[in-house]
């Protein structure tokens, strides 16, 4: 899966309104097909993961993530903030939020996605930070936009 040409589907918020880490997570989670309770629980899990150690993988880029029994499929939302958001010690401009399902065969999907993101960021971190549109940002990350907008939970 390393450096794969596989494309993942992702939602993208190119101009985030949120100014804090918690609000960014909330804004991004709003795009996921989750009901209110699941959204709240996943938000809590993501906050705990960030509290345990910020998920900044390159200057300006973070990957808030968790695995949860509340999702059936890998779900990805990419966010970008022009001004950057404190995360909390350094400003982050691009957030790749993903939730992987908990499956009996283990976290293979989760690992494959982490590998995919790692290879893309290694190759083009600067370009990712300077992407001029949602389409080019997703393209650089090896993703394509989810069609049809937000699904009803």
């Amino acid at each position: 899966m390393e450096g794969s040409s596989l494309k993942y589907s992702a939602h993208c918020v190119f101009d985030l309104k949120a100014c804090s880490r918690s609000d960014v997570l909330e804004e991004l989670l709003e795009l996921m097909p989750l009901n209110g309770n699941s959204r709240k629980l996943i938000h809590g899990a993501l906050e705990m993961r960030e509290q345990a150690g910020p998920t900044t993988i390159s200057p300006g880029i973070s990957i808030p993530h968790c695995r949860s029994i509340l999702v059936d499929d890998l779900t990805v939302v990419v966010g970008r903030s022009t001004a950057g958001v404190p995360w909390p010690e350094e400003r982050v401009k691009v957030m790749i939020l993903f939730i992987s399902p908990v499956k009996p065969d283990g976290p293979h999907e989760h690992l494959a996605f982490i590998s995919h993101v790692a290879s893309r960021i290694k190759k083009s971190a600067e370009a990712v930070l300077n992407a001029s549109s949602a389409e080019s940002l997703l393209e650089l990350l090896g993703m394509e936009p989810v069609l049809g907008g937000v699904d009803e939970p």
């Binding site: 009901n35 309770n37 699941s38 709240k40 629980l41 996943i42 809590g44 899990a45 705990m48 993961r49 509290q51 345990a52 150690g53 998920t55 900044t56 993988i57 390159s58 990957i63 968790c66 695995r67 949860s68 029994i69 509340l70 908990v102 976290p107 989760h110 690992l111 982490i114 590998s115 790692a118 960021i121 939970p153």
Partner: protein
């Protein structure tokens, strides 16, 4: 949703995160990406200690027993089946509109269940 049920789902996901950071493949990958998985794991264990203080002892005891026995204590019910043991659940349980407002356990395997709505 029942507050204890919410907390048990949260605990399950927290335990998954802790277990993931104990896996060599994930540990190596996260380190390669510049993260500090060992430190994060320690922090998550500390957060867990605080988190469980808010869970009813009865349900926490059941959760711990089930986790020890099956590896997973909380599972979603899908198409009126427990996804832990795949047993068909009583119709009355599945059709109850308030099924997530209390803690339901599978009559066969005793896992704690919730309905994704």
């Amino acid at each position: 949703m029942n507050l204890d049920l919410e907390r048990l789902i949260g605990l399950h996901d927290l335990d998954v995160m802790i277990a993931d950071l104990d896996r060599k493949d994930i540990l190596d990958r996260e380190k390669m990406m510049g993260l500090s998985p060992e430190k994060a794991r320690e922090e998550l264990i500390t957060l867990r200690t605080e988190y469980v203080k808010n869970i009813n002892k009865k349900w926490l005891g059941l959760y711990n027993q089930l986790t020890k026995h099956y590896g997973n204590a909380v599972v979603p019910a899908v198409s009126c089946r427990c996804t832990g043991c795949l047993t068909r659940l009583p119709t009355a349980m599945c059709s109850d509109p308030e099924r997530n407002d209390r803690i339901n356990t599978c009559p066969t395997c005793s896992r704690i269940m919730y309905w994704a709505e």
